[in-house]
């Protein structure tokens, strides 16, 4: 009646995308941006967010041309083998990215919460829990984040605001000095973290003339919202640590949380509790990619059985675990992934949808 129809509401889409985008961006981006652009990283965030919005408009145009969600389009709109190839490529991309997310997530948890525990065990738990979350389908995932939204966002914003008292203007005074090459790189970096927007092509909207209009409208609010959060976080981090220190920190936003001291004598430091923010946001991103890894495999499988089969869930999950563990064991795999993500993923996500529209089957 109301559940398991593959659709999620606008509010769910908005909240889900905010979680997908803001978690890894606030966690990983600031030190890289600080290294590349310093205070002018602010512009990089603004420009990157703008690029994300343009990309979203482009995806909206693609949706309109397809007239349906991408999965249906790949089944019915293009050559069968081309459709299968694209499914495989998206599956590989999803698994690789999920593996990277799992790697970052495990690192963060081990570094901040369970230093004495084995990396493999933490990773295994994270990936297994993510698989369980994915087994409930997209609606189940969307519902979790619909409920958690304010519980995560309000404490985060409150903590960031609490850090204002240690803010030093001197650290952000160099905001007008920037190097255009580095600014370009910074912008690209911000845009890279907005690439989960690609999966909006798979969201099921109403079958209407302007297919995808509502989806694009909703997600653009998420992009703007995440951009503002990222911008605010970056300014505060910059004002608290300065560009040089910021560039050297592993997870500066977590460090910032640990420096905030509350008045009174109870719950003095909230950094451990505040890790819940990245716990849930990184799970959102990991789940997003694992979900699409599983979904692509399901799309490639014969359609006789409606329900998700155990192996369709297990194979991508194991693959994600192996990718994450490989990155952990050997830094070369990390460099390989970053190389792929920087130079392969973006062209794929930009070019392939347009190509598919161009080579669509004539009715």
């Amino acid at each position: 009646m109301y559940v398991n129809n593959g659709k999620i509401s606008s509010r769910q889409t908005l909240r889900l995308y905010v979680f997908d985008l803001m978690g890894i961006a606030t966690l990983l981006l600031p030190p890289y941006l600080a290294k590349l652009c310093g205070a002018s990283g602010i512009y990089a965030i603004a420009l990157g967010t703008g690029a994300g919005l343009i990309y979203l408009l482009y995806l909206g145009w693609i949706m309109k041309k397809m007239g349906t969600d991408m999965a249906s389009f790949l089944h019915e709109g293009v050559n069968v083998w081309l459709g299968k190839l694209v499914f495989v490529l998206i599956m590989l991309h999803s698994i690789l990215t999920a593996g990277f997310c799992a790697y970052v997530f495990t690192n963060l948890m081990q570094y901040s919460l369970v230093r004495d525990s084995s990396y493999a065990v933490i990773l295994l738990i994270i990936v297994a829990v993510a698989a369980y979350a994915v087994s409930g389908g997209i609606e189940s995932r969307a519902r979790v984040y619909e409920v958690m939204f304010w519980f995560i966002l309000v404490p985060y914003v409150a903590m960031m605001l609490a850090s204002v008292r240690d803010f030093e203007w001197v650290y952000v005074e160099s905001v007008l000095q920037f190097d255009s090459t580095n600014l370009g790189k910074g912008t690209y970096l911000v845009f890279l973290l907005l690439t989960p927007l690609f999966f909006s092509l798979f969201l099921i909207g109403e079958k209407e003339k302007n297919y995808g209009r509502n989806i694009v409208k909703t997600i653009s609010v998420s992009v703007l919202f995440s951009g503002v959060i990222l911008l605010g976080s970056y300014v505060l981090l910059l004002g608290n640590f300065g560009a040089k220190s910021l560039a050297s920190l592993r997870f500066p936003v977590v460090t910032l949380m640990s420096t905030i001291q509350f008045e009174g004598n109870f719950l003095k430091r909230m950094d451990a509790l505040m890790l819940a923010v990245w716990f849930f946001t990184l799970f959102a991103l990991l789940n997003l990619h694992l979900h699409y890894g599983v979904r692509m495999l399901t799309e490639l499988s014969p359609k006789e059985k409606k329900r998700l089969q155990w192996w369709q869930l297990l194979l991508p999950t194991v693959a994600v675990f192996l990718v994450a563990y490989a990155i952990y064991l050997d830094r070369r795999f990390l460099n390989l992934f970053l190389g792929y993500y920087s130079y392969g993923a973006v062209p794929f996500m930009v070019v392939v949808p347009a190509f598919l529209v161009l080579v669509r089957r004539k009715k």
Partner: protein, 494 residues
């Protein structure tokens, strides 16, 4: 609307009554043959359990009076109400007669007479109706469901005097033939849901059904989940209120517990007096209950994570006092918490099984004396006693026992995860519970409603969630009600 006059023809009257009470298995129509030759047809109709001694007496006297009369005399006597019985009053209109039945009277129709006779009865059942002990409220009715399904349907009908309140009865149990009734308001409940619950309740051949809990377990979709997917209540006012919201009530004979469906998390944390009290009070009570539910699940786990893994959260003096309190305790903190929690569950179980006053005694003996002795013997630290006691208090604040039980069970999972992995394990546990709740549904309604999918009902359901808006603002029925009948409150047009 124009009222319909009672017909002279008994068949038309019977048809009208049966039509008005279609799908109302609690309505009884007893046909009679009256007069010297027994050739005058008549019938008496009433809600089943309402036929008390008064009705039998009055009807008996009437029939005795009519027994010796010819057909014409019977008709004349009924027309003129010549029984010299003060209890009997005539009805001219069918709607009044139907309302009379709904109020709890019996109504007597005779062929050839364009009126019906009301035989007043004692009204709705009082016999065996006891005070609600399990779901106490500060304000509101004290009545509780009984062990008779018939009486229970009558207790709902007492509150909703409408022929659209339907009671569909059937038997379950190949050897027990237990009566089961599905009660709903036609037009408000989703017809697909009525079919589905009927199908689920009759899906199994079972020897016997001794309580509604058996039907609940057999009809649940996610039967491995610790969370109940039916709401249970012992309160007729709760059942009646939910029926008016579009829910369906399942009553099982010999069980004082009614099942309500569909349900959601929010329903388990509501009480009937939330609606009887002003919205400030209701909202405050609800916030307290939500917080209590959270701590009933998380407090021991959170305590372990904070004291064993992330001591930096706590100020040093507090940490020192914890440490001092634990001096001499031979067990690790996790085992200490686990022992205390298990002891508490033991006390609770013993208290429930013992007869009334002894049950209370065991609570005092267990809670105070054993707890105190355990602290003095250095078996547990005082802080753990406080944590466990507070957790127990929180679980008692959850109004629904089955729902509270799921929190009590999952609390142990969180204890284990937190003891193993600290706050990370705690978060994993919370996330797992959330994911499970998000995937759970009760008859296709998301379990986390109205916090998810609220747009389907224009966000109106959120007005009756943690914050209970003023009653005049809660004008719409919840999502599970028939989409065409969602308005439940509107101002009368002047």
């Amino acid at each position: 609307m124009q009222k319909q006059l009672i017909s002279q023809h008994i068949e038309e009257n019977e048809k009208a009554v049966r039509q008005a009470f279609s799908d109302c298995d609690d309505l009884k129509v007893r046909k009679l043959s009256i007069g010297k030759n027994g050739s005058v047809k008549g019938f008496v109709c009433y809600i089943e359990v309402n036929a008390g001694n008064n009705m039998v007496n009055v009807l008996g006297r009437m029939l005795a009076y009519l027994e010796g009369l010819s057909d014409e005399q019977v008709v004349e006597n009924v027309k003129g109400n010549a029984f010299a019985l003060s209890d009997v009053e005539p009805y001219e209109y069918m709607e009044d007669a139907i309302l009379g039945v709904l109020i709890g009277d019996s109504v007597f129709f005779v062929d050839g007479v364009a009126r019906a006779l009301k035989i007043p009865d004692q009204g709705y059942p009082k016999m065996g109706v006891s005070k609600s002990e399990a779901e106490k409220v500060v304000r509101g009715s004290d009545e509780s469901f009984t062990e008779s399904e018939k009486a229970n349907t009558a207790l709902i009908r007492k509150r909703i005097r409408n022929t659209q309140l339907k009671v569909r009865e059937f038997q379950v149990g190949v050897r027990s033939f237990t009566n089961v009734a599905i009660v709903y308001v036609e037009g408000l409940a989703d017809p697909k849901l009525i079919q589905e619950i009927h199908a689920r309740l009759t899906e199994y051949d079972i020897d016997g059904v001794m309580d509604s809990g058996v039907m609940e377990q057999l009809a649940e979709e996610s039967w491995l989940s610790p969370f109940p997917q039916f709401q249970s209540t012992r309160r007729p006012d709760r059942a009646a209120m939910e029926v008016l919201n579009g829910k369906i009530v399942v009553l099982v004979d010999n069980s004082p517990v009614a099942l309500l469906l569909p349900t959601d998390v929010n329903s388990f944390l509501k009480t009937t007096d939330d609606y009887y009290n002003r919205f400030h009070m209701a909202t405050f009570a609800r916030i307290i209950r939500y917080v209590a539910a959270f701590f009933a699940l998380t407090l021991p786990g959170l305590y372990l994570a904070m004291t064993n893994f992330h001591t930096q959260i706590l100020p040093t003096p507090l940490l020192m006092s914890f440490w001092q309190a634990r001096q001499g305790v031979p067990f690790p903190a996790a085992l200490e918490v686990l022992l205390m929690e298990l002891s508490f569950e033991l006390i609770r179980e013993a208290g429930v099984r013992l007869p009334g006053t002894m049950g209370n005694t065991i609570g005092i003996v267990g809670g105070l004396i054993i707890g105190q002795a355990a602290v003095e013997a250095n078996l547990v630290s005082p802080i753990v006693v406080i944590v466990v006691a507070f957790t127990a208090l929180c679980s008692f604040a959850i109004p629904n026992e089955e729902f509270a039980f799921s929190f009590r069970i999952l609390k142990f999972v969180l204890i284990a995860l937190s003891a193993w992995l600290g706050f990370f394990g705690f978060l994993i546990g919370i996330f797992l519970v959330l994911v499970h709740l998000a995937s759970l549904k009760s008859f296709d309604v998301p379990y986390l409603s109205p916090y998810v999918g609220a747009q389907l009902n224009e966000y109106q359901d959120e007005k009756d969630s943690v914050v209970r808006f003023p009653l005049r603002m809660i004008w719409k029925r919840p999502i599970y009600a028939n989409p065409h009948e969602r308005t439940k409150l509107k101002k009368k047009e002047k």
